[in-house]
Symmetry: C2
Subunit: 161 residues, 2 copies
């Protein structure tokens, strides 16, 4: 069966009024991966403000909505433009809609949206154990190798402050 | 010999007038790791603007200066405040000054600076092969494991757009 073409899966840009369903999706994402959530109410407040102030781009897929991608931009020293660097902060599809190309549609639209903003580079972090996500990112041209395809693996570190 | 205390190594905040030496350090960093550089002139222009507009915090160590750390902040959905999330974008010490605690002094000051901005979380990417950097980050409380110390490794992915 051929891979479903992106054009068949509409992806739309979230507006401030989508803050509640986006908050619910992130909340579910956190709980599914045993990560803490500040709760849907606080999340919705923050999404509303961040989307309204254009500090964040959120893309939605499906009627639920059933998945979302979240992009941040920043100016960068390696290339020109105020949105030269794009960071894919979140990408999530609800469990019962996985395997239908929704994640790929979100990722492809995220790349297009970032290009339209003038971004020249995109980064993201993911878990070694999330083979579905890694397969998606690698098939979309992302690498976790430094310098060349057989270069050292790039690692993601974090700490609370 | 005891580790040199941070207080012995002054770290200062770069101003727009430091843009040229910071550009030189990043340029040298890129060349040392066989990565492309836009050149010191373009880099200095961009640093000048980003530091002046407070879109970037740069910390400097040593008289050369001999090293720098570069921080970016962004609002986050997981906690409150416009600078809730700190990203350590670069950390570099010139080769002939390594092993003297300059990197540690920069990192500790970066953590303090981020806390002072209200950040609750810091992230960074590094190479699996850079064992000195990884040792520094891990000894400063950073983890590249998801959820728990024996959780899956977190990977950093990138692509050009």
């Amino acid at each position: 069966m051929p891979r479903q073409a992106r054009e068949d899966i509409p992806v739309r840009r979230a507006t401030p009024s989508d803050a509640e369903p986006v908050a619910q999706l992130l909340h579910d994402f956190q709980l599914e991966f045993d990560e803490p959530s500040p709760g849907t109410e606080l999340l919705a407040e923050r999404y509303e403000k961040l989307i309204r102030n254009r500090e964040m781009t959120v893309l939605l897929v499906g009627d639920g909505p059933d998945g979302f991608a979240q992009l941040r931009y920043r100016p960068w020293v390696y290339s020109a433009g105020k949105n030269a660097h794009a960071y894919l902060e979140e990408l999530y599809v609800v469990p019962d809609r996985r395997g239908n190309g929704l994640g790929r549609a979100l990722l492809e639209e995220a790349i297009e949206a970032a290009r339209a903003e003038g971004a020249t580079h995109m980064e993201l972090g993911t878990s070694e154990s999330d083979t579905a996500a890694r397969g998606l990112y690698e098939s979309a041209g992302f690498t976790n190798r430094e310098g060349s395809p057989d270069g050292p693996v790039m690692l993601f570190y974090e700490r609370e402050l």
